[in-house]
């Protein structure tokens, strides 16, 4: 929540002027979309006659009716308390998406026959590649951050070159460079290690900056206090600085993990049997692309929702535990 003002005005969407503007704007937009040859025009055939020949009158009527429905819906939602507003809007948007998916004439049977394999093979691979990569990336990030903050020119140069390079190249290109480039050096790398390496290096570069900011945000007095008691650099870092930086580092790291979960789909291009790869190949065989893509999309979405939930719990934990 942002700052909540204690002064409450009228609900915006209940002001006559606002309602009028919404109706006009929605009518114009829907009219311009030209919806008379869609299912809506079909429904309104008694009013506008043959939809295909109804022209501007047909478009305008359909647009106006849709606009009225939309605005009534918005006004009604405006009466609800916050919680129910959230639930109703979520359900409506979800229904719109499902309608969109449904319009592809999906074969549920086909999805049902493949989904188990997609989860056991695809989700499992996606999750373990992401999990290993995020853990390795965290280690890279700690050392990267320390190097970037160090007064050693050698360490700083390597770390800043590393972050610049790996943040500057598309992840897909890094993946190709590692998978196709390493064999040039005489070292043939398997697809899964190549994928993990690319994700680790790329996200390690981003997370270096997160860790650096976290470490830097700790008051200089903490360093002085612990160094003045005879703590060495490593001890200070491990026992004093990092434990205090963690609450600042973990939430954005969770974000990175969510992003990585989806970016791991890029690994499919080098033939790792993760979720995206299975969605494409299994769909290809039977020319049922949409079924598999939509299934994979929903699985990704569910996974991120679970992770977002976990992340919000972790964030709350650190917020309440900050003394």
């Amino acid at each position: 929540m942002l700052f909540a003002d204690t002064v409450v005005g009228d609900t915006g969407v209940h002001k006559p002027k606002v309602i009028l503007i919404m109706v006009v704007v929605a009518t114009v937009i829907f009219t311009l979309l030209g919806l008379n040859d869609t299912i809506f025009g079909e429904i309104m055939r008694p009013v506008i006659g043959e939809p295909k020949e109804s022209g501007l009158f047909g478009n305008l009527s359909v647009g106006f009716v849709l606009a009225i429905i939309l605005v009534i819906n918005i006004v009604l939602i405006g009466f609800l308390p916050f919680r129910y507003q959230v639930i109703v809007v979520w359900l409506q948007l979800l229904a719109l998406f499902l309608t969109f998916f449904y319009s592809f004439d999906l074969k549920i049977e086909f999805i049902r026959s493949k989904i188990w394999f997609m989860i056991t093979q695809g989700v499992f691979t996606t999750l373990y590649i992401s999990a290993i990569s995020i853990i390795l990336a965290s280690f890279v990030a700690i050392f990267g951050a320390i190097a970037k903050l160090s007064s050693n020119g050698f360490a700083f140069a390597i770390a800043s070159f590393y972050t610049s390079f790996f943040r500057g190249l598309p992840l897909l290109m890094q993946l190709y460079l590692i998978y196709l480039g390493m064999p040039q050096l005489g070292y043939v790398i398997d697809a899964v290690p190549a994928g993990i390496l690319a994700l680790t290096l790329c996200y390690g570069a981003y997370m270096t900056e997160i860790f650096r900011a976290g470490i830097q945000s700790i008051n200089k007095g903490q360093w002085e206090a612990s160094r003045s008691m005879g703590f060495g650099f490593g001890l200070t870092m491990r026992r004093i600085i990092l434990p205090q930086a963690m609450p600042l580092i973990i939430p954005p790291t969770g974000n990175q993990f969510i992003a990585m979960l989806k970016d791991s789909s890029l690994v499919s291009v080098i033939g790792v049997w993760e979720l995206m790869f299975l969605a494409r190949t299994m769909g290809n065989k039977d020319f049922r692309h949409m079924e598999m893509l939509i299934t994979a999309a929903l699985i990704y979405w569910c996974l991120t929702m679970v992770l977002e939930f976990i992340q919000s719990r972790i964030e709350r934990h650190y917020r309440t535990a900050s003394h």
Partner: protein, 246 residues
Amino acid sequence: MSAPIIEMTNVNKWYGTYHALRNINFTVNEGDKIVVCGPSGSGKSTMIRTLNYLEAHQEGTIRVNGTDMHPRMKDVDKVRMDVGMVFQHFNLFPHLTILENLMAGPMWVRGIAQEEARKTAMMYLERVRIPEQADKYPGQLSGGQQQRVAIARSLCMKPKVMLFDEPTSALDPEMVSEVLDTMVSLAKDGMTMVCVTHEMGFAKAVADRVIFMDEGSIVEENDPINFFENPQSKRTQNFLSQILQH
């Protein structure tokens, strides 16, 4: 006379072109209680921070506990272990409880067993009269209590000398005396102390010597009676009349 624990000889320090310390010479013997005062920007904090090498000096020598302090020294941590430091802003570790704050140094640096460290920590918490706060976190304590914990934290390391860098300047007025009381009792027990402070009452009560600094140099060094009754330099007189006029 006992052996010198701190010796500063012709110490000079610059921040860029700014001459922060000019030809500082002074000696602290074991058991000495020294108060350093002076207007803000006079270099007194910088001076005390060079004593455990939180700040580096560029010229002259600083010997602490028999070790020369210089940029290439290997055993700076060893020197620091024996030099306690209390900061203006306490600098307790906010993620550790009070007891853990006190046990951290002895356990992690000195390698003392947990049980013994706990016993020592509780002893010093009793000494600063807040044993009941042992399991709280620093953020839950008042400023005065935090500063007393900070003093106890330094004492747990069994230092040979204690440095105080304006220990009461960040406190609400009603909390100043509880911290000063702790410092006075520490002085009575014979602790060697160097205190940067404006608390002239404290200086009169415990100091063996008072040092007045201005613009990076030591202007005057005297015993408290002479320092307050019969200040030699004009700048000292000005300073004293300013802070004692109320």
